[in-house]
Amino acid sequence: MPETTSSLHEITMSQAIHDALAEEMRRDPRVFIIGEDVAEAGTPFKVLAGLVDEFGKQRVIDAPISEPGFASIGVGAAMTGMRPVVDIMFGDFLGLVMDSIANQAAKVHYMSGGKLKAPIVFRTTLGATRRAAAQHSQSLQAWPSHIPGLKVVLPATPFDAKGLLKSAIRDDNPVVFIEDKLSWQIKGLVPEEEYTLPLGVADIKRVGSDITLVATSSMVQAALGAAEKLAVIGIQAEVIDPRTTVPLDRQTLIESAKKTSRAIVIDEGYEQYGVTAEIASVIADGAFYWLDAPVKRMGALNTPVPFSPALEDLTVPTPASIFEMAKTLCGAH
């Protein structure tokens, strides 16, 4: 929630992303957008609708279906003074652009002994349960989170999305900014005035004393849903959203776990080697003497995302499954 006294208005996450881009493009002529169907179409999801009318086709560039090409072009432009926002329609297409992200953008500053930099944002998506099957449903935030030199943002509310995207664009480092496709329609309050949010600061989405639910992106809503159910049976869950996996706000996570002595980490990426593993180990390490139970992890099942709704819905954590896990961890019946 915005902690500001200024006037607030309610917008969708989609609008928040749109507004952040529009504001940054007005502020800084170096910012441009490149991607497929970003101009008149405003992306298939309409998130960028209207931007081309204000900024023109020079700054909202419709690219061919050439992800490796325009990702690389983006990095080159970033290295030479521009601030590109590269639109990668589906997170699954990270598979096509990982060289530009992980071998080029992430490393150029270090390899050049600090002389070059790549201030670029790769906007992409995550999330299953849209019946889009195995190549359009993955949540691959673990990939960029693994690479030193990258920052990774996972906004869960309109307020966070707007403030974090503006910071990502202003950051001198490559940032992978991943949006949950099902969250674009979530509404929330956002200040009328300009604001930014720092990368690397977790947000306590709900205060509680009995168990810590660390949740990212799409799983924040699921964790909040679980917390409500838990409250009914007398368990007060604290829901913490790291908001960025890199940098990770270790302090806030550890402090919460020390307070509650139990923690579950929930993320929609595959559970195996997922971001939940990293976060859980940070908590297990930092709060070891305060913990009453092992730190648990919940991610997507370790399977390609199936098309059939009968199977797909079983692959991701839900408020109900988080509730069950939390209840068990708290020893409640």
Binding site: D37, S66, N302, T303, F307
Partner: protein, 325 residues
Amino acid sequence: MNHPNPLDLEQGLHFYEQMLKIRLFEEQVNQLYLTAKMPGLAHLYAGEEAIAVGVCETLRKNDYITSTHRGHGHCLAKGAAVDRMFAELLGKSAGYCRGKGGSMHIADPESGNLGANAIVGAGAGLATGAGLSIKLRASNQVAVAFFGEGAMGQGLVYEALNMASLWQLPVVYVCENNHYTEYTAFREVLAGELRDRPAAFQVPSKEVDGQDVRAVYNAVLPLVERARRGEGPAFLICDTYRYYGHHVGDINRAYYRPKQEEEHWRTARDPLQICAQWLRGEYAVPPALLDEIGQRVADEIRLGLEFAMQAPFPTPSELMEDIYA
């Protein structure tokens, strides 16, 4: 010759029936979407039927194809059955991929279909790999890659063409130019001319009216045969049009594609009408015969859908099967 004479009446009627099957299938899929009976979206092939049918009719059952997100037509033309196609689209166990693939991933190795693909351009690489495998196994097959003109944006396609040409692989690349990628006219995202691209790799190419199944068949037949003889890859560029939106949910599309243009293709360049015209004109096929085919295909679609609607969903125990071979 394995192939019937393209001027053979039987063959002509078969072309017509295959195209009609795809058309009615796709119209039914659209209905399933509009009535909220199908999970997710689908990219319809209606309007482009002559390409899948014209090409696949030159192929043997064990020849390979790779397909795209707009793949239903390729799958049916290569020999997939309507009932199991519908079942897959509805996420049922009886579907070609046990409900795990859905519209964009239908694969049927039994009919040589290595799979539709949701990554634009990916099939061109895979078909080239099948071509290499054919050559190494000396198996006398041919691989065909179907893809849209949008895939010509992918570097992979050029890397594949280069290797196919270098190593003279038995691959025929079929580029379906339906003039739009998703919501962008292809001229806005494609420099130069399509035909110059295969030429750069010395891959012979042809351009054909993709709405005339006979023209497609006649154009591709020699390309497939020379590939089978070991004379290397070829490229076919088909001029075509999709009747519906990019996917079933793309309904208001006037901002990127004029209504009159859609009308023109539907009325003046419809592959079914063009085929029916020459069947009636050159083969004196009576309208009743075409009606009979129409009835038969409509029945097949109806029964196929009934089968799929009644088929059970996969059980949870199937979820973790098939991850490893």
